[in-house]
Symmetry: C2
Subunit: 331 residues, 2 copies
Amino acid sequence: MGEFDLIARYFHRPDGQGPRHAIVPNGDDCAVIAPAPGMQLAVSTDTMVEGRHFLSTVDPARLGHKALAVNLSDLAACGAKPLAFTLALTLPRVDQAWLAGFSGGLLALADEHGCELIGGDTTAGPLAIGITVMGEVPAGQALLRSGARPGDELWVSGWPGEARLALEAFRGTLVPPLDGEAFEAVRLRMERPTPRVALGLALRGLASSAIDVSDGLLGDLGHVLKRSRVGVEIALGALPVSPWLATRPLAEQQDNVLAGGDDYELLFTAPAARHAEVLAAGQAAGVPVHRIGLLQAEVGLRVRDGGWGAEEPTGQPVANRWTSFDHFKMA
Amino acid sequence: MGEFDLIARYFHRPDGQGPRHAIVPNGDDCAVIAPAPGMQLAVSTDTMVEGRHFLSTVDPARLGHKALAVNLSDLAACGAKPLAFTLALTLPRVDQAWLAGFSGGLLALADEHGCELIGGDTTAGPLAIGITVMGEVPAGQALLRSGARPGDELWVSGWPGEARLALEAFRGTLVPPLDGEAFEAVRLRMERPTPRVALGLALRGLASSAIDVSDGLLGDLGHVLKRSRVGVEIALGALPVSPWLATRPLAEQQDNVLAGGDDYELLFTAPAARHAEVLAAGQAAGVPVHRIGLLQAEVGLRVRDGGWGAEEPTGQPVANRWTSFDHFKMA
């Protein structure tokens, strides 16, 4: 099967099927798109390579989903609405069953978010998936890493730490091991993450900064602190611990939540006065949001072992033993 | 060297250096860009893989140049002005001399065309370069493959065929072989192609259709004919033959010009009444343009062995022995 046939069979959408935002669709030298009046374009790109970002045994439909999900997660962290994406697919061979699964998972998530595939190419070579995604955001309203202010509350969505738990289960490092039901549940979180697009949209004009958690919560938080020139105090007792993670030893829980990586949750800040609005935004978006820390003028990252007091984290200072999860270390 | 250090050292542009179009530059979850009022965004993507699209021995500065050039060529074929690009770099190892050469060649061409690097990532793996480029085009003025009409003249820019001559010299298939001076000249055309951006801009509102020649002139012409539902008659005697190509046997000249591939010349159509304007556009853009055929209502691709008569190709019909160059066949 040649490149054109492959694209036509697995990636071309017939007229009337799938989202259509392009003025000139896929198939010319360029696709042509335009943000709506008053909107700007948020652009992000991510490549996934076999053995580095995913295991060779992963279900292709989940891989297709995840390849787009990690990019949609970047749009979510900017408060942008998905519009279109390009796909660069490097394949060791033409495996039709694999392609059917992959494109099925990819396009199902694309349809769910109204994100049109507007271009791409396929090349022979070791399996890799490169996606560049484009989304719309009202002029001047993109959520940035640089907007956190002292006194803001620090929030995280959902249940960070589960993806890392799954990775360690695959690696066989868990003592005690995970039971089968727990493994399948956290495996889904690793292999088929949910980008928090609706939450990102709900946080426009509300969050003061945002980032998506891909390299580990504290590592990614470091980018926000650096850009915003602020510090933070984290309340260990306020961290969200999912039911699956709660069965693990306490140190393992904390390690996974704070430094697990591959989470694709949103980590964001908002003024304390808007606490109730943030909770409402999470509810409207269908994802729980957890207040885990307080931004401070003094730079640096501090951790306390208590919960949330009247207005701030409590307990004793704890040494930061968590370092950033590094994708280069997977294989 | 970690990913962040690598990006900072070789790809980050200090403030005031390099083009700046992004509202939010490289370094957040997304970059934010916006086309100027009345403009739309043309988007294209291309991946180059070692052994498929380039030889492992290629000079890294030339490779950096070419990786962007082939994408700018797609913008040129749409009549779009380069604005920004993302870079996905997969590297087998961190080789600082290689990275310095590669980024130098890449960013020099980017600067020449005012095209800002707004995002990307680096991954460990077999050498591959994925670029997604974005350019501006006035609303409704993108040059498409679908606009060719019977009676239009068919044009090609520059000197197609030289890149293939270089590839065959590398392969050692040429009888007689190329002399050293000729080899260095055509090698530059293969390794460091010039995207015809200025010509693409000059053809806005003038050309009825356009495509860039990457897979071979006749193969790419086939896309235009199919989309435009027209046919064409080519005048073999009107083909441009570069001084280096002119030293080769006649059949080899024709094969390389019509089916060489990797040319990144513009192949375009324009009404015959605008012949003089097309010549002037080529002159203004600093690249010769050659009239090589005539569009006809009867579908199909016909070749005659004469030159251009009073109003059309002359000579006897010739069988089309040229098929499309296929990048999957390189390695």
